[in-house]
Symmetry: C2
Subunit: 767 residues, 2 copies
């Protein structure tokens, strides 16, 4: 009788390895040789048996397809029993026994370890392969969406007091004529956006923030809610809206006086008078203090002459300028009798009602942009354009009857920053708009990921990609951050609206910082959305394209992010120096004791190695750690700057070296503020399911930030490796848990369906 597996059952012990060798694509020719050599060395096999087995592992004459199929049938039969083989050797024995010809226990004891060694040598992970063979189900396959809270309650919480106006805007943008535009011709798109703006103006939304006397509602908070909600639909519209009613209208409102309000605001709010905000120049974008445009006063006829001295002193990137704008608030250095009185603002007509450019004005189109092509950005050059006396926006400075400069603020520097301070609103509107765009991307991506299936065990249904830990780690922390930032930006808005002179500087620093912090976060969120949706994320119909390209400039708008972060950090460092100055004058002893206590309570080995889940989830731990980072970064910056300049470096050079450090200061401050506002919001929640869900999101936010900054904490000795590893593990675990609520958490954003990407409603055929 010929030798065969069924005739000679002990040979079955090697069948799993032989089958694997042919089935797995990762085994190399070298390894076939290894198996053959192994067979050759086995003293429990006869020469004939060895020859038979070797013939089954010969790459020159591979087994037929049906033979492979037959082997697999044998394996499957052996695996239906209750026994659970741990490796290929166990499986081989099971196969041999299935043929009812058992080997003696002694024989098995002698053979088994040898085969186990071979498995190891071949790098076979048999536990994995056996799981596949047995079609065992995994939690990765069965994990799914299960809402644990009332979505509409969550929406209420997110909307806060602005539900009414938010819903009004949503009812407009969900209309069919507001469906987002894909791949439109620039000219057509610009007119579409203008028409949308007109509809919004007619609905009374343009003048919402203006005084009631000028046709508005005097509701600045509502204005920001409008900007934010419009951002679900189209960002060109938001920016056009913001340029017209925010920048242009509010520069008149805040920098002008009654005469300007009476003359312009109603017309601006109704879009009868489209206008621009002409600040940036080609050579001076971030550095607005360096603007070169001049406004020369002529006392003889009480006029100002607006002029662009050099080519690159022209106003650039000016929204509404290329097509629709009829006037502009122009920032220019006021010159009286040859003396420069610093930058002031003037209303300059640029086009007539027939949209003809006025004499002395040259306007070029900025041309095609990466995004926001529904906004007509232009370049304006002034060639000695004469405007009447009343066109100076004279709230902070004016020219008196005698032709002399007058201002309640003597320093040009100070006046300039006070003027700019009134325009801080842009630094609130932009991050709120950005965050809304991120929410559209996240909702689209998370809903798709819940339905899209890819990969899985060889036998069995493919797995929703949202069940993959890596996919969760890419998206769910951004979901938590979106919630965190929603609360932080609402807080900023309220503080801005209720500002007093005393806290204005702090609010400006916070707005500058949160603008940078949020827009960078949105940039990262949408990047992950793009990649997480693969090829679908590249199709314009899914909107990630436009959301990403439109918000791309938000990191530059209203000030380059790195410059703004420096500004925030400078404020923090200044505050620290004052505080420290006062302390060193006052009770230095208490301060030292306070600092030392931190050392004792936070840096003792128990704390630095504490990995209890209850500790890691404790808000006090988070707050202490966030504050420690903030305090330490700012105090070390003060010391470092002193050391560098004491060592003889010029302060400008020292500051240059410290730029990255300064950005860390701003970042740590913003982290802390955002954390605190999340906690403050949690305090207001009564519904227990909402509270639990939000608490999980909060924890993820806090721990993800600690994980992000773990290098710093490790460098400081504030945490040890064992703790940072525990945090990383907990972040992954929280993502896994929150995944079940991820879809409802995006549904709570309540974004009109026509504003989502097409794949948000994708249904997998296999689902």
């Amino acid at each position: 009788m010929d030798i065969s597996f069924s005739n000679d059952p002990k040979l079955y012990i090697l069948l799993p390895i032989v089958y694997y060798a042919w089935q797995d694509a990762a085994i190399s020719n070298e390894e076939y040789t290894q198996i053959t050599q192994f067979i050759d060395k086995q003293d429990w096999l006869t020469k004939a048996e060895k020859e038979f087995l070797s013939s089954k592992i010969n790459t020159a004459s591979p087994p037929s397809r049906s033979e492979l199929f037959h082997w697999k049938e044998n394996i499957d039969r052996a695996l239906t029993s209750n026994s659970k083989p741990k490796n290929f050797t166990d499986l081989g024995i099971l196969l041999a026994n299935a043929e009812r010809i058992s080997l003696s226990d002694e024989e098995i004891r002698s053979i088994a370890p040898k085969i186990a060694q071979l498995e190891q040598q071949l790098g076979i992970v048999s536990v994995e392969i056996l799981s596949e063979y047995q079609k065992r189900t995994s939690i990765t396959q069965s994990h799914n969406t299960k809402s644990s809270f009332d979505v509409s309650l969550m929406t209420e919480l997110l909307n806060g007091e602005q539900s009414e106006i938010i819903n009004k805007v949503k009812s407009i943008i969900s209309r069919e004529d507001f469906t987002p535009v894909v791949d439109s011709d620039t000219k057509v798109f610009r007119e579409k956006v203008f028409a949308w703006c007109k509809i919004l103006a007619d609905a009374g939304l343009g003048s919402y923030a203006y005084p009631t006397a000028c046709g508005g509602k005097g509701d600045m908070e509502g204005y920001f809610a409008i900007m934010e909600t419009l951002s679900y639909q189209d960002l060109s519209l938001v920016i056009k809206f913001g340029v017209q009613f925010g920048l242009w209208g509010m520069s008149v409102m805040f920098l002008g006086t009654d005469k300007h309000h009476a003359k312009y605001l109603a017309q601006i709010g109704s879009l009868e008078l489209p206008g621009c905000f002409a600040m940036s120049e080609t050579h001076h974008g971030s550095n607005v203090k360096g603007l070169q445009t001049t406004a020369t006063y002529n006392h003889a006829n009480r006029t100002f002459t607006i002029n662009t001295p050099q080519k690159y002193d022209r106003k650039e990137y000016i929204g509404n300028a290329a097509v629709h704008g009829e006037a502009a608030t122009v920032f220019a250095k006021l010159v009286i009798n040859g003396i420069d009185y610093g930058v002031n603002a003037f209303i300059v007509p640029i086009r007539d009602k027939q949209k003809q450019t006025l004499p002395g004005i040259t306007i070029e189109d900025c041309g095609h942009k990466m995004g926001l092509n529904g906004v007509d950005n232009g370049i304006i050059t002034f060639s000695n354009v004469v405007i009447p006396y009343d066109n100076m926006l004279d709230k902070f400075a004016s020219v008196n009857e005698k032709g002399e400069f007058e201002s309640p603020i003597p320093s040009d520097n100070r006046r300039f920053f006070t003027m700019l301070g009134t325009l801080v609103g842009g630094r609130i509107g932009i991050p709120r708009s950005a965050l809304a765009a991120a929410k559209v991307g996240l909702t689209t991506t998370i809903k798709y990921s819940d339905n899209r299936r890819q990969f899985g065990p060889d036998s069995g249904q493919e797995v929703p990609i949202l069940n993959y830990r890596m996919h969760q780690l890419r998206l769910i922390p951004y979901l938590a951050k979106s919630y965190a930032l929603t609360f932080a930006l609402q807080y900023l808005t309220k503080r801005f609206i209720n500002r007093t002179e005393a806290d204005m500087q702090e609010i400006e620093a916070l707005a500058a910082g949160l603008k940078a912090y949020t827009t960078w976060n949105v940039r990262n969120t949408l990047q992950e959305c793009r990649e997480a949706t693969g090829g679908k994320g590249y199709l314009s119909e899914n909107r990630i394209d436009d959301l990403k390209n439109d918000t791309e400039i938000y990191t530059t708008f209203e000030g380059d992010n790195t410059v703004l972060m420096q500004l925030t950090a400078k404020n923090r460092l200044g505050e620290y120096r004052k505080e420290f100055g006062e302390i060193s004058v006052g009770n230095i002893f208490n301060y030292v004791v306070e600092q030392a206590k931190t050392g004792i309570t936070e840096k003792n080995p128990f704390a630095t190695r504490n990995t209890d889940e209850s500790h890691l989830k404790d808000a006090n731990f988070h707050l202490q750690a966030f504050k420690y980072r903030e305090r330490e970064l700012v105090s070390s910056a003060a010391r470092r700057f002193k050391k560098l300049t004491d060592d003889g470096l010029e302060p400008f050079d020292a500051a240059n070296i410290m730029h990255p450090h300064m950005i860390q200061i701003a970042d740590s401050y913003l982290d802390r503020v955002v954390l605190e506002q999340f906690l403050a919001k949690l305090e207001t929640v009564n519904d227990p399911t909402i509270k639990d869900t939000l608490t999980n999101l909060y924890c993820l936010f806090a721990l993800h930030k600690l994980d992000e900054h773990k290098a710093w904490y490790l460098e400081q000795g504030y945490m040890e490796g064992v703790k940072t590893k525990a945090i990383r593990k907990l972040v992954s675990q929280l993502c896994w848990e929150i995944r079940q609520d991820a879809v409802p958490l995006t549904e709570a954003f309540d974004i009109p369906e026509n504003c989502l990407g097409a794949i948000a409603t994708f249904k997998a055929a296999q689902a």
Copy 2:
């Protein structure tokens, strides 16, 4: 006589603070009060003097502009002397002395500390302000571009052996008719790109890699150089070129046999027969093993019937499909007599010469995309399309005369991966193309940053933004990485071309990994370029727009990056298991000794805290650290997987938890390979200036990577905080040094000028 500063010179001591209070925008009302209170408490002032000083610090009656001007004149006069005041107190004394009425030393000794305290309380950084007042120059202002090497020699080094073909391609793309397109209508753009392809085909570039018998040059290395060089110009062109001559042509070349080569290759190479590569399906993108399209064999007439069973089994994102393709290589499951023989490839005609879609074929347009709109991606659905027997690409499988399946590779799995393995070229072409795009972005951005000036001391010229440390840190490490990746991808190309069966798996893992590693790096590079160029970076004329949006899909092309990184890591883990298996079989003792030695030499306190610059710049230190990370990540993964499954987790769940760990494995492996190839390239350099420059870039690359992974090294105890901080400092220092060579280093890429953004040639008016 009235009290005034000039009448009562000791009051001058307080003038610097008074002047600062009005000049600086950061001082608050509260602080005016603080100053007033301070004045009130001074016993060296009379009541009248106190009243006078208080009147000068009263926000209700600020000093006039001319008074402020006059104070500043006084300060400037005092500062022209050689004395160097250290703070406002010193300056005040100087002012007092300038009026020639000195105070007694004793008086000064008593007054000075009090004022110094006030300065501290107000948080005034007088060293900074005094530097501004004195208009001292800084190295930040004077740093500039200074080439220290021969640019053309560097270009030669970068081009390697491919100079000739690279220059040929450059001579074509620098022609005026190849000027990159901005904002073109999609239809027009697609035709433009097709016309460009035709010009390239006519120049013999399309068939470059094909056998000479089919009109080619048999030069695969040249083909990759062509792809890379074309990427400077337009990425739609590159992808269209790659689809036609790479994917379509090479699927015929590698999966077909002589009969296919003879019939198709010449026509493909000349673009007479435009075609597609139809692999991805809507429901199966990354998971190509799950493809559902069927090719059913009919022995009666020896034909195959190609069919799309369910709607979402259609072929999606297929390049060349929407408009130009006349045929396609279609991947489908071969079914013979109801038995599924796995995925195979077939040539299917889809359009006639008049571009009419053939019967049974339905083609939809994918529509507008985020980028690459010059490529006509489409969706193909097959409704029982019958193709002749000869259309099966039968290199790896065929149907014999008897209608039976035949293949030299019995396992479907194995055959499928062998087939895919021949198509690995795409994973080389894509990263090389991406890197070229990044170089266009970097060149444009760095040249602009060298000329663009923004901010600076109040008095004095603004500073080139490339002199800012933060700006350097954003760009210069990417410059180093671009050099590093150039060498690594050339190495990969050579290994791919000279591959043998034995190293094929390793090369596939390397290609998959380097594709992901490079395209992610390019994504980050172009993101920084966009932000670093501010508003300019948003204008399409500067090309960062298109470069970024076109390469955006490169992270998904040829396999999603996270999936590819898993693939690479699996290979590394498999290799490790085999090695470890062999070791544990063989001499486990030696292995343990080897591991322990690492502990002794690398983890001793001297090594973990060593911050000597010579040590930090030592290639041996870098190599050891890179290898340690690679080895430790892979061995801990093996242990962790065992522990998780031993604890009862299903292997699929354990693998899921370990995805992030796996990505780290791939990353550490790729870091090490890239580092080694940079070092290998350095070995070949003879010119000392080139060598020095490249060594600096190499060091920056190595240290920047160590800085990036410092959290991991700190967690492991491989480095202590003092060392990671020293590395960070050295990274910043290297960026500062390399900045002088940054422009020439981009010039060495030798990118045709018409391919750069318009701002690359921007000249600052102030320069």
